[in-house]
């Protein structure tokens, strides 16, 4: 299995860091830290220096909150995508949006991937992505409506439900013209899931990897980590990194994160242990 993002081609054993860059005032973790242009451009430079393989730019927080109209979302992300593309010609740029209209504009502005974090909420999205020859991240939300929280959602088998939904979306995206090698699947921890569901998706991640599509996991500082450890937002980095290591061992390919440097080290360490990557520099006992 190989997959492609932007100008880059990857192998099944590659493990990539996707750095979150929010153009929001109210996202749960960074709380508007990169709302201002200067801070956002600085964040992109920093995450590249820290080893990010791609960035994921978002203009709407995932959780419920103030309505962000299309025009406002466009204003938040399109000029920024243009600016990042101009400054970093080879960087893979993903944009987190569920709206086909926004996707069309950011892809025209230089983005490479659309991260459809709300699981096909806009049926026109795949065709737009296909028209630009871009990549598409598909997510499982269990039918949960955009920007709502799960309430009393239950599954007979959450992993089976995730697999079924993602396979259906993937085939639909291929039918809409999206390149097979540019489709990524994401079980979407915490989306349409309680903590038990997210933990089961983590424990059985190898089943999703086995579907044959590149797997993205978005674990960073999420509630399932917090509930597992009894840790509030701001205290979940270690739990996130432990979950990252387990997910990497089980074969996930792309990690959407706030903490780039730490994630890079965790992923590289797992890659080295698995024999997918030589150690950086080895002299102990050999000289």
């Amino acid at each position: 299995m190989r997959f492609r993002l932007g100008r880059h081609t990857y192998a099944a054993h590659d493990r990539l860091v996707m750095a979150i860059v929010n153009r929001t005032t109210d996202s749960f973790y960074d709380r508007g830290a990169t709302w201002e242009d200067d801070a956002a451009y600085a964040r992109v430079r920093q995450v590249i220096a820290e080893g990010a393989d791609l960035v994921d730019i978002g203009g709407i927080k995932a959780a419920p909150g103030a309505e962000v109209p299309v025009a406002e979302e466009l204003r938040r992300v399109v000029p920024f995508v243009e600016g990042v593309r101009a400054e970093h010609p080879d960087l893979t740029i993903s944009v987190d949006t569920y709206r086909a209209e926004v996707a069309d504009a950011v892809l025209a502005a230089g983005a490479d991937v659309v991260n459809d974090a709300w699981g096909g909420a806009d049926p026109d999205l795949p065709a737009v992505v296909a028209a630009h020859g871009a990549g598409l991240v598909l997510t499982h939300t269990g039918g949960q409506r955009v920007r709502t929280r799960p309430h009393r959602i239950e599954y007979d088998d959450v992993v089976a439900a995730v697999a079924e939904s993602l396979l259906m979306q993937a085939e639909a995206a291929v039918a809409a013209g999206v390149e097979r090698e540019r489709i990524v699947i994401d079980p979407a921890h915490d989306f349409g899931k309680n903590t038990w569901h997210s933990l089961e998706c983590t424990r059985r991640l190898d089943e999703l990897v086995g579907l044959g599509w590149p797997v993205l996991v978005s674990l960073s500082n999420k509630d399932f980590v917090g509930e597992s450890l009894g840790r509030e937002v701001g205290e979940r980095v270690i739990g996130t990194l432990a979950t990252t290591a387990v997910s990497a061992w089980l074969g996930a390919h792309i990690y959407r994160v706030h903490e780039v440097r730490e994630t890079r080290d965790v992923l590289d360490m797992v890659s080295v242990i698995r024999g997918d990557l030589p150690p950086m520099r080895v002299t102990r006992g050999l000289a």
Binding site: L277, P278, P279, M280, R281, V282, T283, G285, L286, A287
Partner: protein
């Protein structure tokens, strides 16, 4: 013509496992030594019709891979063919000297046949200095290490056969210098050494082990004189 003059070139290279691809990381920790070792071995292969590798056996073999020095030499030689002579790491000097002479003598005893089949011989001597040069060295710090290394490196520079044969086996063992025996084989093969000259030596001890690469060639005038 002395028998030893049939040896046209000798490379001295370290036996460090850092030179083996199976232990390589993403960053080469000894690029200068590797470059020099490859160049020295290539020079010997180019100059000689037959190449003999001389290496010490491992001090504490716990495997069936063969001596590390032989594998390092094979890596440096690539496709080039060579014979391998393994000398016990603790062989006494008289044994080493005799072995060196025997390598040369075996070549000489072939007489005309040897002259035709392989008149120009090259040696690859796999030899390290001490492994006790710093507190973080494999054998920790031994105050004798620097003096020991200075002696054998100076001897190589001057192709001083007597100084190589005078290396103290007990001190070498104490400072974990696995190269003592192969260097004394080299001395035995070189006769009085007068026919040879040593180029610049590349050295490194970043890991507390004295690595060195030397290329010793037959003097041009000794080739031309007859």
């Amino acid at each position: 013509m002395s028998a030893s003059s049939r040896i046209v070139a000798a490379a001295v290279v370290p036996g460090t496992l850092l030179l083996l691809p199976e232990y390589a990381g993403r960053i080469d920790p000894i690029p200068a030594i590797r470059t020099a070792a490859l160049a020295a071995v290539d020079a010997v292969v180019t100059a000689a019709d037959r190449v003999v590798v001389v290496t010490a056996g491992d001090r504490e073999p716990r495997h069936t891979k063969g001596p590390a020095g032989a594998r390092v030499a094979a890596t440096l030689l690539g496709e080039a063919p060579a014979e391998v002579v393994v000398v016990p790491w603790d062989a006494p000097v008289v044994v080493c000297r005799a072995l060196g002479a025997a390598i040369t003598g075996a070549e000489a005893s072939g007489e005309g046949e040897a002259d035709q089949a392989g008149g120009r011989w090259g040696l690859i001597i796999v030899a390290d200095g001490s492994a006790t040069r710093t507190e973080k060295a494999p054998g920790h710090y031994d105050p004798r290490a620097h003096a020991y290394d200075e002696v054998w490196l100076t001897a190589l520079r001057g192709v001083d056969v007597d100084a190589l044969l005078a290396l103290d086996a007990a001190v070498a063992e104490g400072v974990l210098a696995l190269g003592r025996a192969p260097l004394q084989v080299l001395a035995g093969a070189f006769g009085d050494g007068a026919a040879y000259t040593c180029g610049d030596i590349t050295t490194d001890d970043a890991y507390g082990v004295q690595h060195a690469v030397a290329l010793i060639r037959q003097r041009r005038n000794s080739l031309d004189c007859c």
